[in-house]
Assembly symmetry: C2
DNA sequence: ACGACATAGTTCGTCGTCGAACGAATGGAG
DNA sequence: CTCCATTCGTTCGACGACGAACTATGTCGT
């Protein structure tokens, strides 16, 4: 799929782009109807890092622009998966909280995702995945730092 | 950024998604005005695999749906970067050819991309990138096979 | 030869994300 | 205290990608 004369980083980013595309597609296939990968990422983030965070903080954490996060939060709120309240300490801020339905939906989505992913992981030794993680983390950090 | 209790594959795909996002953004920043990453990918594909291919074949190769490729090719043609001609052997088919301007634009884009990417690669030993490639290729193949 | 099916390219409507820009509110420099 | 720059959340318009559907053409079985 990739020419041999590509620089390694170029080839790697090429693979990364394709993998991201396939993985996102596979994830959305098993998610509840209408629940996008971007919605799931936000639910996941709130569960893991704690809720009550501001919209802008979540947007930065998951690498999307603020208007996109406004849209995502509105969709999640319409579904009753999150609630929002003005930040008492910052008149501009808006705090986002998980509802019980939101936690439940996230739990189900994680199970579904793991179920869909398990057969794929089965063909690949877990040790190799673990071994590749540090490099990817460093690469992400380098790209993030170069963002200027 | 990632909870320690995530399965390794989950964490890896998480990193992959963020890296793809940052890399695409960085790429589009150095591309000529209005030239999207998806356009660049097509030019790159035509240079590396040869032109004269059908629209559908290109769409499959770069993992986008055919309507998206129709749009991309129309944009590239409007810019004079590619030309199209009906396939003499298949009345349905449409063959896509690179123009000289297209080859030149691709060359400049590759230089720009390499320039933008070089400082990032500088912080990471090339050997590690090479070492990570086989795993990513296998993972892509596994995801592709699971596409059903 | 003919009919069922698959494939190529396109059009259409929908959706998510982006950049630009805005009003509201905060915080820091003088 | 008073500006002035910054940040927050939002609205708006544009754009790319998608799924569904359509026509035209090719392919295969009988």
């Amino acid at each position: 799929m990739t020419a041999a004369d590509d620089p390694p980083l170029f080839a790697l980013l090429n693979e990364v782009a394709i993998i991201e595309h396939l993985a996102r597609h596979a994830l959305e296939r098993v998610l509840p109807e209408g629940l996008r990968a971007s919605h799931f990422v936000v639910l996941n983030h709130l569960v893991r890092r704690g809720d009550g965070r501001s919209l802008a903080a979540i947007a930065r954490a998951v690498q999307v622009e603020r208007p996109a996060m406004t849209n995502t939060i509105q969709k999640l709120e319409a579904r009753g998966l999150v609630t929002t309240a003005p930040d008492p300490q910052d008149g501009r801020g808006k705090r986002v909280f998980l509802s019980e339905a939101g936690r439940a939906a996230r739990g189900e989505a994680v199970l579904a995702a793991n179920g869909a992913i398990a057969p794929i992981a089965a063909g690949i030794p877990e040790a190799e995945l673990v071994a590749a993680l540090p490099l990817l983390r460093r690469l992400r950090a380098a790209l993030d730092a170069a963002r200027d």
